[in-house]
């Protein structure tokens, strides 16, 4: 009885659907291949999706305010590139990482001010900065990857392990925990949900909604910049196309995880599990020898099914 009750309670969680999907998909893949459910494969998969998942943490906060951030891929790529340039110029790794994160901060402030001070729609503001960032990357690199010398200690960020767990996955877990607490337990988190749930009512209740919005865009870009620095540490090469198109996967992760693009609804944990599901599918496609071109189509199908189920569940549960 007790267990049943707890299970029922679990069902109330918004993350429940996507968690079930993640498990079922794992079982399904395991039916066809013994290689999926091994520690080394699971760690490899986790490392592969960790960057998308990290970025989805920032994205989901933006989406909960009712906005969208299309520029995450550019913030990520440009941050990696600036970090590489700093190494190239002979700065220490601390300066290089700080410069990379600084790029993210600047990106976020630009987005946030365009949206709050000028009043641009988030879609347009971040579409613009997406293009600007991308253009700057090609201008700086002339299309050629940058591979500066880096100290051994820097590569730990992207390549190291804590026990069997890759460092990027550890960073992901820490960020997930921190931002779950921020979103569910702090005043700021409450204000993020209220802003997206009803901006008018929030503002009239004394919530400084413009400040909240500015903050989530800064967080989103800075978190993406961190992902960019980790990506550079992993490959030690700053690619001009790094992060290209990743915004779609990041938004998809948030949406699969139950975030509503209308605002007010979503969770950090859901977005991270959504990213995990996308990564799991990618891995399954490889392990099962399915045409890799099919991967995108399958991911698209999963997005539609997951979000449809969520919408249907809410409609039926209506007053629950």
């Amino acid at each position: 009885m007790r267990v049943l009750q707890q299970l029922l309670q679990l069902r109330q969680m918004r993350e429940f659907n996507v968690l079930i999907a993640l498990v079922l998909m794992g079982v399904l893949i395991s039916l066809f291949t013994p290689y999926f459910l091994t520690v080394s494969n699971l760690m490899g998969v986790s490392r592969a999706f960790s960057l998308t998942a990290i970025m989805s943490i920032g994205m989901v906060m933006v989406i909960i305010t009712g906005g969208i951030d299309l520029s995450v891929g550019s913030a990520m790529g440009l941050a990696g590139l600036i970090t590489a340039l700093c190494f190239d110029a002979g700065f220490s790794q601390y300066v290089a990482v700080a410069a990379g994160l600084g790029v993210g901060l600047a990106f976020g402030l630009t987005n946030g001010l365009l949206i709050t001070a000028i009043g641009l729609p988030p879609f347009i503001a971040t579409l613009g900065t997406l293009s600007i960032g991308r253009g700057m990357m090609y201008m700086i690199t002339h299309g050629v990857p940058l591979t500066p010398d880096t100290p051994e200690s820097f590569s730990v960020l992207g390549q190291g392990y804590v026990g069997p767990v890759p460092v990027p996955v550890v960073i992901l877990l820490v960020l997930t925990l921190v931002f779950t607490i921020v979103m569910t337990r702090t005043r700021f988190g409450r204000h993020v949900y209220a802003t997206g749930g009803n901006e008018n009512a929030a503002s009239l209740s004394g919530v400084k909604v413009q400040r909240v919005k500015l903050a989530v865009y800064v967080l989103s870009s800075t978190i993406s910049a961190l992902a960019g620095v980790i990506a550079f540490s992993r490959y030690l090469s700053a690619e001009p196309a790094s992060g290209f198109g990743s915004e779609l996967e990041v938004i998809a992760a948030a949406a699969i995880g139950g975030a509503s693009l209308a605002g007010g609804i979503g969770s950090v944990l859901g977005a991270v599990i959504g990213a995990a599901l996308i990564g799991e599918i990618a891995n399954g496609v490889v392990l099962l020898n399915i045409n890799t071109y099919a991967q995108q189509a399958i991911t698209g199908g999963v997005i539609l099914i997951a979000v449809s189920l969520d919408v249907l569940r809410n409609r039926m549960g209506g007053r629950g």
Partner: protein
């Protein structure tokens, strides 16, 4: 004159409410027939039946030009020659005048494309008939509110309407625009068009009406030619009702101490659109319940929005004798002002959030240490208010979306009561909630005043204003038109100040 539309014994029942009870209304061709009555008297329901938006209960009869009909829907009503101009304008701002006039029935050329030339020419002809000069190709968004209203009238005429219903058409018009509109209405009647005119402004009613029908509590009280009517009689016919036994006796807790003082408060924006609120001056005492009355569009909400920092103003606001500058709602809240907004669903509550989260939004820091919310403290405080206000909810975790209107309103009051502002503004505190909840809300407001809070009540429900206010300020067309102490405030005196 022969009747164009005859409605006899029309009733309409909604779940739990009889909105119309055997109403009779006979409208002649070529007359201006004013429909008068308080908010909630049944005017809008009756209009909706005339235009086919609602179907009347069986038993009544509607005849158009002597023939019994059942008006099925708005398109059918239009085909019968009945159109309506709503108070909220139904024009598309980024289309041109002629595109609006011919919306959804654009004249097509032989190729199946829109015949723009004919559309513009026809529009020009209709506008000329009305005697107004507006370019058919102008974007509607660039026109004044008054001109937009004329576009709606042009549209009604181009349907070849024989009866045009105008729902408070002058509510948001300037004086000059109003007189243009009234002239237009007269002109139409000369061409045999009948007009149903809904208005709260007495002056206007006596200027335009041929006959008046008064509705009260869903019944026809009287229909008579305007020559047999006086303002006193009209007001008495409209508002006369039994005072509700549910509501307790009024006790004043007002002190002599001036808490809020407003001088010269004037809107800071272009004057040409809608009502322009200006030169507002009043004092609010500690523990006082100050009623603000006025007709729709008199500027009551605008005054409150200025005091609360959500509408730009010029003039002086002082609290406790110190002049303050209020630039945003959060400034106002810091100064100890709370605002229960008129529209609880779109401006008062985050519907998707729980009772607890909505409750604490105004004073979350009370439950925070180092910005972390102490949820058990928050839940306990919320549970206290749920109990003391009698909010019917299974738990503090219920989404407010799932509560009834009265309980939602109590949540809004709770979230402000718990913040303990010095001044609480409540805008239409009991709109759309049942009589029992209304009495509870009144009792709660009285209790808060007793505890030393000063309360401003804005309401278009006159009996409500009279029941709970220590003093009444009346607004008319953006200015204060009367200030009445409780002993002088009667339905007649307040209504006269609001309309006369």
């Amino acid at each position: 004159m022969k009747p164009f539309l005859e409605m006899t014994g029309i009733s309409k029942t909604f779940p739990g409410v009889k909105a119309l009870d055997r109403v009779d209304l006979h409208l002649n061709a070529g007359e201006v027939h004013v429909l008068a009555g308080e908010n909630g008297a049944g005017k809008s329901t009756l209009m909706k039946i005339m235009t086919g938006v609602l179907r009347a209960d069986p038993g009544g009869e509607i005849r158009v030009d002597g023939e019994t009909v059942v008006i099925k829907n708005p398109v059918h009503a239009r085909a019968l020659g009945i159109s309506i101009i709503y108070q909220e304008l139904a024009v598309v701002n980024n289309l041109t005048v002629s595109e609006n006039v011919f919306l959804a029935r654009e004249p097509l050329g032989p190729t199946g494309l829109i015949n723009r030339k004919r559309m513009n020419a026809d529009t020009r002809a209709v506008l000329a008939e009305l005697g107004v000069e507006i370019d058919p190709e102008a974007l509607v968004g660039t026109l004044s509110i008054g001109q937009r209203q004329l576009i709606e009238i042009a549209r009604a005429i181009s349907y070849k309407s024989k009866l045009i219903i105008m729902d408070e058409p002058t509510a948001s018009l300037s004086h000059h625009e109003s007189s243009t509109l009234l002239r237009m209405a007269r002109k139409l009647t000369a061409q045999g068009v009948g007009i149903v005119f809904i208005s709260h402004k007495l002056e206007e009613i006596f200027e335009i009406a041929d006959r008046v029908t008064v509705l009260r509590d869903g019944r026809t009280v009287d229909t008579r030619p305007i020559s047999d009517m006086t303002s006193d009689l009209l007001v008495r016919l409209m508002v006369d009702r039994e005072l509700d036994q549910l509501f307790g006796h009024h006790r004043s807790h007002a002190t002599d101490e001036v808490l809020l003082s407003v001088r010269n408060l004037t809107e800071k924006r272009a004057k040409d659109e809608g009502v322009f609120v200006r030169d507002i001056e009043f004092d609010l005492h500690r523990g006082e319940v100050l009623g603000f009355f006025g007709l729709v569009g008199a500027g009551r909400t605008e005054v409150m929005e200025m005091i609360f920092g959500s509408r730009p103003y010029s003039g002086e606001i002082s609290i406790n004798g110190t002049q303050v500058r209020i630039g945003s709602p959060s400034d106002a809240i810091t100064q100890g002002i709370g605002f229960v907004t008129e529209d609880r669903q779109s401006r008062g509550l985050v519907l998707g959030m729980s009772v607890r989260e909505n409750f604490s939004l105004t004073h979350l820091s009370d439950y925070c240490s180092l910005n972390f919310v102490n949820r058990s403290k928050e839940t306990a405080a919320c549970a206290d208010y749920i109990r003391s206000l009698g909010i019917k909810t299974p738990s503090p975790e219920q989404k407010v979306l799932n509560l009834s209107g009265g309980n939602q309103q109590k949540v809004v009051l709770a979230k402000w009561a718990a913040r303990r502002p010095q001044i609480l503004i409540v805008d239409e505190p009991t709109r759309g909630i049942d009589i029992g909840a209304k009495a509870e809300v009144h009792a709660l407001l009285g209790k808060m005043a007793e505890e030393g809070m000063s309360i401003i009540v804005v309401s278009s429900d006159l009996p409500e204003i009279l029941a709970i206010s220590d003093r009444v300020i009346v607004l008319k067309e953006g200015q204060i038109s009367g200030e009445l102490p409780r002993k002088d405030a009667t339905q007649e005196s307040v209504m006269l100040a609001a309309t006369g």
